[in-house]
Assembly symmetry: C2
Homo-oligomer: 350 residues x 2
């Protein structure tokens, strides 16, 4: 339906066929996981295993700004944040669908760069674009659904299942993307000069697919690690891992009742740009790292005897503390008294 | 990431947890097709068969208007248009993910009605809400990915595969939703008085799931029908069914080369409101019916000896004509001279 759109015979504008040709140029159409690819009413997945599936919005002026994201970075990150959910399940990505709402300001060169950035990441992980939808939209809105397969029989890693005495770990940097967001909001791309790693963490987050797969393999002949990706900061997501907070688990399920954690986060474990930024603002760097969302780092727990192998196999894995049987979470011996003080994408002024 | 959002302790606003509780109230969490439901980074589908999957955008002021859609109708139609793609593959719907961009103007009562309308349709077809994403957004933006299973071994119905001599058929009304859109745009919900069926076709389209499943079953021991749903009108979609137009099949595939069609669409086959509306505007009712998109009717072809059984089994199935070996499409003996004159969601003024 597009009754409010005007037909035009001009050749330098975006047509649906033109956009589809751009996609065809940059994304292959066949894949071992697909029985039927783009072009029909549905794609058909030839599932021989269970599938992990996740959908995410990536919206202009909510999740990114065109003022400081290049088109390539926009396309890259739109897919990367989705793939991160697969990493958090220890899944190997297979395919995705792409829904694109495009404003009139988007032209062919911009769109081709956007597609190039997305295709680069899809190629890296051999993920097929299986279908999607296109529409006009006032702002650039991207909605991606991504799916993947298990790497070991027995399936995927999930939240829950932590036990007292388990080691808590993270893979990736804490708080770095939050600094990147803040400095990019303040100074635009000029921020890249003084905060290169923080800006990169926000503009081009690296999904931890390899780490997720290694964690899934580690769980094949042992009690599997619990795993999630950190989207709202440790302070909000750690209770979710332990089952202390409903969070997104609005399912009525309760689990892990009575678990707690003692974590240690020393200033020396933080990225220098996180420390420098917090100190410039008169803030506690550790607190800022705990609050930091959007890092697309993995947060997990495992049995203590699994840790040495994980440490050896997974670059960037650092232990954070232990799971306890109390209901409290202590960080550096202090109680995290307000576990719900992280981001809520919906809290806003009435 | 929601750095621009303001925290608030007010209780009458939408919080993420509040929205998730509303969803939990109206949508069940378990389903035979799910190994893991809402609440983790991914849902896990227990696939024992191939899956048909489709994603669609449903955007305020592009695909619907809040001025004349009730919240229930908005939620209903957002899911219905997605399910229609499964109908076009002869699939039985299993689950969906829901990405919701919500403007500040949406309050809890509105959202609950929206969810109620969507849940009514999900319940009718026993479709599980498996996950999704929430975000603030300037307008109400809905992106749904839906998946389904085949009802017979051998899988799904697709476009292509038509042969000369095959019977072309439609299931559903042609042009009625287009009339509904036009009268609702002109008169808002007052249009319901004079154009009740046309408005209903636009506001509450019925996905043709049962018809799709019966068509898939008919193809089990015979050459399967070719099938698609009509989203851009017969004039644009019939060439796609026959493989004459790339359309969404931007895959480099070519098929059905040289096929054509001879269709007959008599005024008497059209809904009285389509005829009345066209005549009021001084237009040819048949032409309007050929142009009409968004009907969520099914368009297909089958071997002639299959037609009697289909006619008996599928209410609302009407034959439209025959597939020919010429490359032309004739309607009522006139050449459809401009096959690309249907809707293009992206054609706009430069």
């Amino acid at each position: 339906m597009a009754a409010q759109l005007t037909y035009s015979n001009s050749t330098d504008i975006l047509s649906e066929d033109g956009i589809l040709k751009l996609l065809a140029k940059h994304f292959p159409v066949t894949h071992p996981s697909l029985l039927l690819g783009r072009g029909d009413d549905c794609a058909v997945l030839s599932n021989k295993t269970p599938l992990a599936i996740s959908s995410d919005l990536f919206l202009e002026d909510v999740h990114f700004r065109k003022t400081y994201f290049t088109p390539e970075e926009t396309g890259y990150k739109a897919l990367a944040v989705n793939i991160s959910d697969l990493a958090a399940c220890g899944a190997r990505p297979l395919g995705f669908s792409l829904c694109l709402g495009l404003p009139a300001s988007i032209d062919v060169p911009w769109l081709e760069k956007f597609i190039t950035g997305m295709a680069e990441l899809a190629k890296k992980y051999n993920i097929i674009l299986a279908g999607g939808d296109l529409s006009q939209c006032e702002k650039l809105h991207i909605c991606i659904t991504v799916w993947g397969e298990p790497v070991v029989q027995g399936g995927f890693l999930v939240r829950g299942g932590s036990m007292p005495g388990d080691i808590l770990f993270v893979v990736g940097r804490l708080g770095l993307a939050r600094v990147g967001l803040q400095v990019l909001e303040e100074a635009g791309r000029n921020a890249l000069n003084n905060w290169p790693d923080a800006c990169a963490a926000h503009l081009r987050p690296e999904p931890q697919i390899d780490a997720g797969i290694m964690l899934a393999r580690a769980g094949y002949n042992a009690r599997p690690p619990a795993l999630m990706d950190i989207s709202d900061g440790i302070m909000r997501d750690l209770p979710r891992l332990l089952g202390l907070s409903g969070g997104l688990r609005a399912t009525g399920q309760t689990q892990g009742g009575g678990l707690g954690a003692e974590i240690v986060l020393a200033r020396g474990q933080l990225h220098p740009e996180v420390i420098r930024h917090a100190l410039q603002q008169g803030l506690d760097p550790v607190h800022e790292a705990l609050l930091g969302g959007e890092d697309y780092a993995l947060l997990g727990s495992c049995a203590p005897d699994m840790l040495p192998a994980l440490n050896a196999a997974i670059p960037g894995l650092t232990s954070l503390g232990v799971v306890t049987s109390g209901g409290n979470i202590l960080c550096n011996n202090e109680l995290l008294d307000n576990l719900n003080s992280g981001f809520d994408h919906f809290m806003r002024q009435a």
